[in-house]
């Protein structure tokens, strides 16, 4: 198999374009933990502890 220029993909023939099942839900991520939502637009507002946990993960947990 060789990757020629024409092989660049454009998202065509994509099995997951119709799929409805998530494979990597981040429902349990610290930044998703909702202390409350902003009124009207319902954007998530995490608690300060969760902001700290999310920061701690990128600073100390995630190893990149």
């Amino acid at each position: 198999m060789s990757v020629k220029k024409i092989d660049n993909l454009q998202g065509r023939d994509n099995k997951r374009l119709k799929t409805k099942d998530p494979t990597n839900s981040e429902g349990t991520a610290a930044w998703q933990n909702s202390e409350q939502s902003y009124k009207v637009d319902m954007v998530n507002k995490p608690s300060i502890e969760n902001v700290i946990d999310a920061k701690d993960w990128v600073d100390n947990g995630s190893q990149l």
Binding site: Q10, N14, K20, G27, D53, K55, Q63
Partner: protein
């Protein structure tokens, strides 16, 4: 002599020893070594003293090259100096390694050995880096386990001081550096007892001083340089007994015996492996297994690799040995064999009747090396003609180097429990597992091991914790492959990952899920159900999210799952486990108040109470995999054969031939479109009647998942019923229909789009993802597949109009709400078809191109940004090189065209050539002129061969006709620090290149170390008590050249200014640099990352960040080139910074310093603004 027990990783063990013997540490962060420097800095900040009664002075330099220079200087100044590095970082230190070895200075480099970037970058471990440094003259000492690190690290320091030679102490990156074990270390007073204080005095007396000055570092010629090199030979001979002496002292103090080489196995072994590093632990395990069945296997572990003592090696080889395999964890292409193999072969050169020796490679980039692979090595030795230059752990079906591997063995000692826990980054799983290890380690006499395996998403990536507990020492330096217990903390993983691949017969599987048994029957994939039944798995569920929510913990499931873990693994008596867990909770959460503590206690209790055992039906044994009921889609070959297996964590099974044709590391663009990860909890729902069609939502979206579409009548007619549209606003779009469409499974759910929406009542409202999938998935599919980009429209030049062009950066691995991606996403909409991107290593290279996910993509014409990452420090030069290549090709084209103009060709040809030359440096115009030229030359004929060849040359180089838009892109770590020298040089060149700096004000990717962009008072690693120095004004420095276009921008703070700056920069015929404020999760934005764009706006309003453009073109028009775009700050600077944890935590941690630093920060910002005002008001 007292022994201290600690449960730590290899990095911490190395740092513990290094701290004792170090006066000064000059460092630069690089994965996986960074922790060593960070813990040393933390201990110093907390007042720990080294054996000389002083705190270590840790300085972060601008690069490893700088760190090694400071390390060298510090040694010459008389301070015992250490540093910590890996990979490219070590390579950057090589020139100073030669220097410090040549000058016989007792420095120590601790290296968590890591792969070198070749066809790809890898953060994972092997010995390529240390092997590249083996000629420098450093003594090299290798540790193969966390305990060995603790024992050998002090030997490196002690021997360096006494023997007057620097040491490179190394251990495997990740496999040892990040593996947690319970180990013994000595107290610092024991180290002090061992230390030769006379040698210390001699070192300090030898330091450079004006009191008795000497000259070092002369220039020498061929008359004496060689002799000078050879004069040091005795030091290399003498270091051997010195190392032996200190290994003896370690044995005396600890009871653990080490030699320069160590033998393990049958005293009458016939088949021998020689190796170094963590693999030696696995080999020992394999030997125990096979020798108990009558085999005669042996192992020699190498500790002192340089100087390499042939005598000591040969003394250990049993006379019975017939064949030897040498394992190297490196690759030296083109060599007769890898380094350790060559050393061993040379050792046996004069030995009569020497054994047959073969060499092999293993474990590159932490490729797991298991007992079965070691068995294959011994099996190979038993062949009449054992294979040489073999590989293990891969299937090499191209050059056929790989050995056949038997079925995986379980060689772990009886009674060892192995667990795998699948979680999500920041869900608390990893932290909880580290706590579990500590609890078990400290409350039992069991040995413990923890190792964490992640993917490459900075936040929200998958984490798999591999834990082991046992009565016997744990030597399994490979991932858990026979698991007694597997837990999955994320229900969505059942749809993708082979969770139970490693489960033992009769093992336990726990799934965090809200599904009932009936729902499990429907929702679990057949393959998983079959596996559960086939392996007689004890299957449990627990609704950890439900429990956590009920208690008031929201989505914090870690304590619930901890209770479950201890209950089901039965490693400790449950009462004891609960008691320890709750004590741990008290310590961890005590400061947050009794309520929080009690909630977490309750979480543990409820987790234990509400475990539900699922009765596994027999019918599950016979289930077949689900068939595709809908039309079979044949995905592109790359996706099918490489991307899908890699995404499912089955990339390790890919053979070498899978990469045929892409041996140079080339990957196709646009693979992220195939992921559809379904990250979000909530996604935006478009309320079309409220929408004012400003497109700000799309403009700020970090992941390009929300886009405006313009449809004609026919497209609307064919659209799904739920595809709601409205009449497009604006004269240019008359007669068309407008829609905002979202891709729910690509959305991260950050909410920035909804937050910035200015419509009354909001035209975007976040809704649970489950409510949106049914209609929006087919709608998205329709939009991207069937709605065309309307080329003929007279699009305006506002930021709104930019959004109708498809972004050519989509669905990256960036964090939700990332402040970097919206800028470059916009750039691809403006110039993507002509763009070449040189990207520095950092977050922006990781979210863009962590294989197999490539986020830059192509449009329907097949065009889009080319993208490449070279290194960290050289990005400006790398991109500049691209520019030079393109310029050279285009200059040849111009030469060709001038020749045609001067020749006897048709007028239309001359005209087309004139036009091309005229518009050569104008992006859009050159595209048109290029197409015109190609049309004209299509049927060109001539009897003049020279002209025919010229036209042929033009056609062959047609790719270069349209002006390229070259962008050098990276973070502040690159632009302000390690890459600054190159950046400065490229800016000074006057050439037409563009730079985009994502200014997160910190090294985001490597875990939040301070850069020169970090402002005063911000807390960062190596600025733990708040940064004292101010933020570098990179923009003003670049303005001093006079011909560089400079802009500072902030998306959403001023969308129009941003588009103007991008366009002006690109059009400027000279160097341009744009510095973009990029909020990051590291900042700890208290309003949440759903307000990251709003934060940028606030930053400008508070005078924290300023918007301006410096356009040299204006000078030529007699105008002031500097335009200050942001207004007088009106909002509170103090309120702004206290809205971020990186500032507010200073007030808690260092209240005395905080006020002074906050004032200084505000003063600095004010001064910056006044400087800009002065520039703006200059006549």
């Amino acid at each position: 002599m007292a022994k201290v027990l600690m449960t730590v990783d290899g990095n911490t063990a190395a740092a513990y020893a290094a701290y004792a013997f170090t006066d000064v540490a000059a460092i630069y962060p690089i994965t996986p070594s960074t922790t060593m420097a960070e813990v040393v800095d933390e201990w110093s900040a907390n007042g720990r003293k080294n054996i000389f009664g002083q705190r270590v002075n840790v300085v972060e330099m601008q690069s490893e090259a700088g760190a090694s220079g400071a390390y060298h200087g510090s040694l010459q100044g008389g301070a015992l100096t250490s540093t910590f590095t890996a990979s490219q970082g070590l390579l950057l230190m090589i020139p100073n390694m030669y220097k410090t070895a040549g000058e016989q200075l007792p420095g120590v480099i601790h290296c968590s050995a890591r792969a070198i970037a070749t066809h790809a970058l890898s953060i994972f471990g092997d010995h390529q880096d240390v092997m590249a440094a083996r000629q420098t003259g450093y003594a090299m000492l290798c540790a193969g386990s966390v305990q060995e690190v603790a024992d050998l690290a002090p030997v490196a320091h002690l021997a360096a001081i006494k023997g007057r030679l620097p040491f490179l102490h190394f251990f495997d990156g990740f496999r040892t550096s990040h593996e947690i074990q319970k180990i013994e270390v000595l107290e610092y007073r024991d180290y002090a007892e061992m230390l030769d204080m006379d040698a210390v005095k001699r070192f300090r007396d030898n330091a450079l001083t004006p009191n008795h000055p000497v000259i070092r570092g002369t220039a020498q010629n061929s008359d004496i340089y060689f002799q000078g090199r050879e004069a040091a030979n005795p030091f290399y001979t003498n270091i051997i007994p010195v190392v032996e002496e200190y290994l003896g002292k370690i044995e005396q103090y600890t009871g653990r015996k080490y030699g320069l080489f160590d033998y393990y196995g049958a005293p009458d072994a016939e088949y021998l492996i020689i190796a170094m590093g963590s693999v030696t632990q696995t080999i020992e395990q394999t030997i125990d297994y096979y020798n108990s069945q009558g085999e005669k296997y042996g192992l020699i572990k190498v500790h002192l690799y340089r100087p390499f003592s042939t005598d000591h090696l040969l003394k250990l080889v049993p006379k019975s040995v017939k064949k030897i395999a040498v394992l190297d964890r490196t690759k030296e292409p083109g060599s007769v064999g890898e380094p350790l193999y060559v050393d061993v072969c040379t050792s046996f050169l004069r030995v009569p009747n020497a054994p047959i020796i073969v060499g092999g490679r293993y474990g590159l980039a932490s490729k797991d090396t298991t007992a079965a692979q070691i068995a294959a090595v011994y099996n190979n030795l038993k062949q009449d003609s054992p294979k040489n230059s073999f590989t293990i752990g891969i299937i090499d079906d191209v050059t056929n180097t790989s050995l056949d591997i038997p079925e995986e063995l379980d060689v772990e000692p009886e009674g060892t429990k192995a667990c795998q826990l699948w979680g999500l980054g920041s869900d608390g799983t990893v932290g909880a597992n580290k706590q579990a290890i500590k609890i078990i380690g400290e409350n039992s006499d069991m040995h413990v091991q923890a190792y964490f395996d992640y993917d490459s998403k900075k936040s929200g990536g998958i984490t798999v914790s591999h834990l082991r507990f046992g009565k016997e020492p744990i030597k399994s330096t490979y991932l858990v492959n026979h698991a007694d217990y597997i837990a999955c903390h994320n229900q969505s993983y059942v749809n993708k990952y082979h969770l139970l691949e490693s489960i033992k017969d009769g093992g336990t599987f726990v799934l965090n899920t809200g599904w009932s048994d009936e729902e499990l029957e429907v929702n679990l994939p057949n393959a998983l159900k079959r596996r559960i039944a086939e392996k007689n798995v004890k299957f449990y569920t627990v609704n950890a999210i439900g429990i956590a929510e009920e208690i008031g913990l929201g989505n914090r499931i870690n304590m619930v799952m901890q209770g479950v873990f201890f209950k089901l693994t039965n490693i400790l008596p449950i009462d004891k486990a609960i008691q320890e867990l709750k004590e741990g909770i008290n310590k961890m959460y005590g400061k947050k108040g009794e309520k929080v503590v009690n909630m977490n206690h309750e979480a543990v209790d409820k987790g234990i109470e509400q475990i539900h055992e699922v009765k596994v039906p027999d019918s599950w044994k016979n289930l077949k995999d689900e068939e595709e009921t809908e039309e079979k889609i044949k995905e592109p070959e790359f996706i099918r054969k490489i991307m899908r297996p890699m995404s499912e964590l089955k990339g390790g099974d890919l053979p070498v031939s899978a990469f045929k044709g892409i041996e140079d590391g080339t990957f196709p663009a646009g693979t992220t479109a195939y992921e559809k990860r379904g990250i979000a909890v909530n996604v935006p729902e478009w309320i079309e009647e409220r929408c004012i069609q400003c497109n700000q939502c799309a403009y700020v979206c970090p992941h390009a998942v929300i886009r405006p579409f313009l449809l004609n009548d026919e497209e609307v007619e064919k659209a799904p019923e739920t595809f709601v549209v409205k009449k497009a606003a604006g004269r240019a779009y008359e007669g068309l229909h407008f829609k905002i469409q979202i891709s729910p499974l690509d959305c991260t759910g950050c909410g920035n789009c909804a937050d910035v929406c200015p419509a009354k009542g909001k035209a975007l409202i976040m809704q649970p993802i489950g409510t949106q999938l049914e209609k929006e998935i087919p709608n998205w599919k329709y939009a991207v597949e069937n709605v065309s980009f309307k080329e003929d429209l007279n699009y305006g030049s506002t930021y709104k109009d930019t959004q109708f062009k498809a972004p050519l950066l989509e669905f990256s691995g960036a964090c939700a709400g990332c402040g970097e991606t919206p800028y470059i996403r916009l750039l691809t909409q403006l110039f993507g078809e002509r763009m070449m991107i040189a990207n520095a290593t950092g977050c922006s290279s990781i979210w863009a191109a962590s294989a197999p996910s490539t986020a830059y993509t192509i449009n329907r014409k097949g065009k889009g940004p080319s993208w490449a990452n070279s290194l960290f420090e050289d990005n400006a030069e790398f991109g500049y090189g691209m520019h030079l290549a393109v310029k050279q090709m285009r200059n040849k084209l111009e030469d060709d065209m001038r020749h045609l103009i001067d020749s006897n060709v048709e007028e239309k040809v001359k005209e087309a050539c004139h036009d091309w030359i005229h518009y050569k440096e104008d992006g859009n115009a050159s595209e048109e002129a290029s197409q015109k030229l190609l049309d004209v030359l299509e049927d060109f004929t001539s009897t003049d061969i020279e002209l025919v060849n010229i036209v042929k040359d033009i056609k062959e180089k047609k790719d270069y006709l349209a002006k390229r838009s070259i962008w050098l892109v990276g973070g502040d770590g690159w632009a302000y620090d390690i890459g600054y020298g190159g950046l400065d040089h490229v800016m000074a060149s006057g050439e037409d290149v563009n730079v985009l700096v994502f200014d997160t004000e910190v090294y985001s990717n490597t875990g939040g170390q301070a850069s020169k962009s970090t402002p005063t008072a911000a807390i960062a690693k190596f600025a733990a008590s708040g940064k004292k120095q101010g933020k570098k004004d990179l923009g003003r420095m670049m303005m001093t050249y006079g011909n560089v276009y400079v802009a500072q921008v902030g998306i959403h703070a001023d969308n129009t200014q941003l588009v103007k700056a991008f366009r002006e920069a690109e059009a400027h015929r000279g160097p341009s640099i744009i510095i973009a404020y990029s909020p990051c999760i590291n900042h700890g934005i208290k309003e949440g990352m759903g307000r990251s764009m709003a934060t940028i706006k606030k930053a400008v309003q508070a005078g924290y960040w300023h918007l301006y453009r410096y356009n040299p073109q204006l000078k030529e028009e007699g105008k002031n080139p500097f335009v200050l775009d942001s207004k007088e700050p009106k909002e509170s600077f103090r309120d702004f910074i206290l809205g971020q944890v990186r500032y507010s935590s200073l007030a808690r941690a260092f209240p005395n310093e905080a006020e002074e630093l906050f004032e200084k920060a505000e003063k600095n910002a004010r001064e910056r603004y006044e400087n800009y005002l002065r520039l703006a008001n200059m006549q």
